[in-house]
């Protein structure tokens, strides 16, 4: 769909631009971490433990004398991709199930809606804790496991959105015309219905990245996320909680999470405003 005009009108939305800037900025910092980080993030006893921010360690050191700035930069390489991957899983699963439910209706719809409601009724954090606690012996591929579990517990709103979009797009005359031409249902769904259901999914997905990063932080905080010594923003906060007088241990990763969540939320809001704008010839 028309991307250039979309980007163009994004320029008229300062908050959305700020969001885009935050997201891109954090992404670039994470990508460039190996070049930007002043120290090895895993190297212990680099300096005295719990040194406050200063000239040598810009953001201070932690309990075992690791450099907090380096860990923060490297943490973005885990937290951000983990959030994106989880959202990709959630968006993919939610879109598939929602599209099938809305398009085929009948018992397919009933079954999928029941399944969605079932997942929505379960408290997410409890589910996450249960799964991850059971899988606490798994140490290899913890990143993938956490991303997958977060994705598999986050797809329900996407499914609902896509289902309702598909239901409304299906009433459009060109869908009726496509059926009248005898096109197979799979083709009608993929080419004539689904593309119209995706803009709200994009909006929701960008909002979801924020909440997913938060969820990962909460899990890591509880010791069920990505384990030490790999730095993530969440497990850095968890570590810092043990010594709250060393405020820099919690504040900076907290700020990073805040920036990411705010960034993705602003971007999502901006996208929603953009995509909701009435556009010429868009019935």
């Amino acid at each position: 769909m028309a991307l250039p005009p979309t980007l163009h009108s994004l320029r008229r939305q300062p908050l959305a631009l700020l969001g885009l800037g935050l997201v891109l900025g954090l992404g670039l910092l994470a990508i460039a971490a190996p070049w930007l980080a002043p120290h090895d993030p895993l190297q212990v006893q680099l300096g005295p433990a719990h040194s406050p921010p200063g000239a040598r360690f810009l953001l201070g050191t932690d309990a075992v004398g690791r450099d907090c700035l380096s860990r923060l930069l490297y943490g973005g390489r885990v937290s951000l991709p983990l959030g994106l991957l989880a959202v990709a899983v959630a968006a993919g699963l939610g879109t598939t199930l929602g599209a099938l439910a809305g398009f085929f209706g009948g018992w397919v719809d009933k079954g999928i809606t029941w399944f969605t409601d079932l997942f929505l009724a379960l408290p997410r954090l409890v589910l996450l804790l249960a799964v991850l606690a059971v899988a606490s012996q798994v140490h290899h591929g913890r990143f993938l496991l956490v991303a997958l579990v977060l994705g598999l517990t986050g797809w329900m709103p996407v499914a609902r959105i896509v289902r309702s979009q598909v239901l409304s797009v299906q009433a459009r005359p060109w869908v009726l015309a496509a059926r009248g031409l005898g096109l197979p249902p799979s083709r009608i769904l993929l080419r004539h219905v689904l593309p119209w259901a995706l803009p709200p999914v994009m909006v929701h997905a960008s909002l979801l990245v924020g909440t997913t990063i938060l969820a990962e932080a909460a899990l890591s905080f509880l010791g069920l996320g990505v384990p030490q010594p790999t730095p993530t923003w969440g497990n850095m906060i968890a570590e810092g909680m043990r010594r709250l007088d060393s405020w820099w241990l919690t504040v900076f990763p907290g700020l990073a999470i805040t920036a990411a969540v705010v960034g993705f939320n602003l971007l999502g809001d901006g996208l929603r405003d953009l995509l909701a704008q009435p556009r010429e010839n868009r019935p």
Binding site: A178, G180, G182
Partner: protein, 325 residues
């Protein structure tokens, strides 16, 4: 031209009934309709909005919403019609709103090529050649420039012709045209009607034309079925219908036609409103608005009876004998 009325019918509706569930119960849109379409003929369904003419066409195509209740038989050359397998091949449909019946984000070539790829396996250059041939057939000759255009770049008439080209992809024997010219300017309308007429003559295409526009019907229909409240009230060859309208409703319809050559207001609007779909009057549904209604009209549903001396001309009104139009 007179259609070959003796040939076996292409399409036959036998007791077709369509009803929609409403909070107040089942609302019948089409009631017990019998109708045949012969090969190569243009049969028009005429009536006011909500009389069931579009529901009839959608029922034939099996395109009604899932909650619609359909009963009765739809036969294709004597066999039950398998609409989901035959639509797009043996029979096709064009719709009222060409502005929205095309997918706004796909180019003309992509859309016209879609049924070709699905039904005939045509791709690449062969498909392109065939797209151009179909567009020519639909009245868009030398349309190379249009292939890359998107629907919003086309005029209303062009869109309807693109839609028509898509419907013709498999050389169907029957085209259902639901108000094909209603959304178009008068000047464009004439061109589309010419094209439809030409397709009938050249390809032997039968057309089931749904329209409320008597001008359109008079121009291209061979036979006309006048529908009121879900039932056919008069069925006749075009000349007979327009020169000797017999059912009071048909007469009233013709009487309230604006005369294009006079500035006078249309003669006589029909008093009252068409009945609500859920609350059709008992007996003949037209009796509350009929100037000739009698007590029996509210008791018995009149059936279509051939007129004396004119077996092709059937009327569902027992009180027409001896009356002159």
């Amino acid at each position: 031209m007179s259609p070959a009325s003796t040939a076996p019918p292409l399409l036959a509706l036998e007791g077709l009934t369509v009803a929609f569930p409403t909070p107040g119960g089942l609302a019948p849109a089409v009631v017990d309709m019998d109708l045949v379409v012969h090969p190569g003929e243009v049969l028009a369904l005429v009536g006011e909005s909500g009389c069931g003419k579009t529901a009839t066409a959608l029922a034939v195509m099996d395109l009604l919403p899932p909650q619609a209740r359909v009963s009765g038989a739809v036969l294709w050359k004597g066999q039950p019609l398998m609409a989901t397998r035959q639509r797009g091949r043996d029979l096709s449909m064009v719709f009222q709103e060409p502005a929205t019946a095309l997918n706004p984000v796909l180019s003309v070539q992509t859309q016209v090529a879609e049924p070709l790829a699905v039904h005939r396996g045509l791709r690449g250059r062969t498909a392109r050649t065939e797209v151009l041939r179909l567009l020519t057939l639909a009245g868009l000759p030398s349309a190379e420039d249009l292939l890359r255009a998107y629907p919003h770049q086309l005029s209303g008439g062009q869109r309807q012709r693109v839609m028509l080209a898509m419907a013709l992809a498999c050389e169907p024997e029957l085209l259902l045209a639901d108000e094909p010219t209603t959304a178009l300017d008068a000047s464009v309308r004439a061109g589309i009607l010419d094209t439809l007429e030409e397709l009938g003559d050249r390809l032997g295409l039968a057309i089931l034309l749904v329209s409320h526009d008597l001008g359109v019907v008079e121009r291209i229909a061979h036979r006309v079925a006048v529908i009121y409240a879900g039932r056919i009230v008069e069925l006749a060859p075009r000349e007979a219908l327009f020169s000797r309208p017999t059912h009071p409703y048909t007469k009233a319809l013709l009487a309230c036609r604006p005369d294009p050559y006079s500035d006078a207001a249309p003669a006589d609007p029909i008093p009252g409103q068409p009945p609500d779909i859920g609350q059709r009057p008992p007996g003949c549904a037209f009796h509350p608005r009929c100037p000739r209604a009698q007590a029996s009209c509210s008791a018995v549903v009149p059936t279509l009876q051939p007129q004396a001396g004119a077996p092709q001309h059937a009327v569902a009104c027992p009180h027409t004998k001896g009356s002159q139009p």
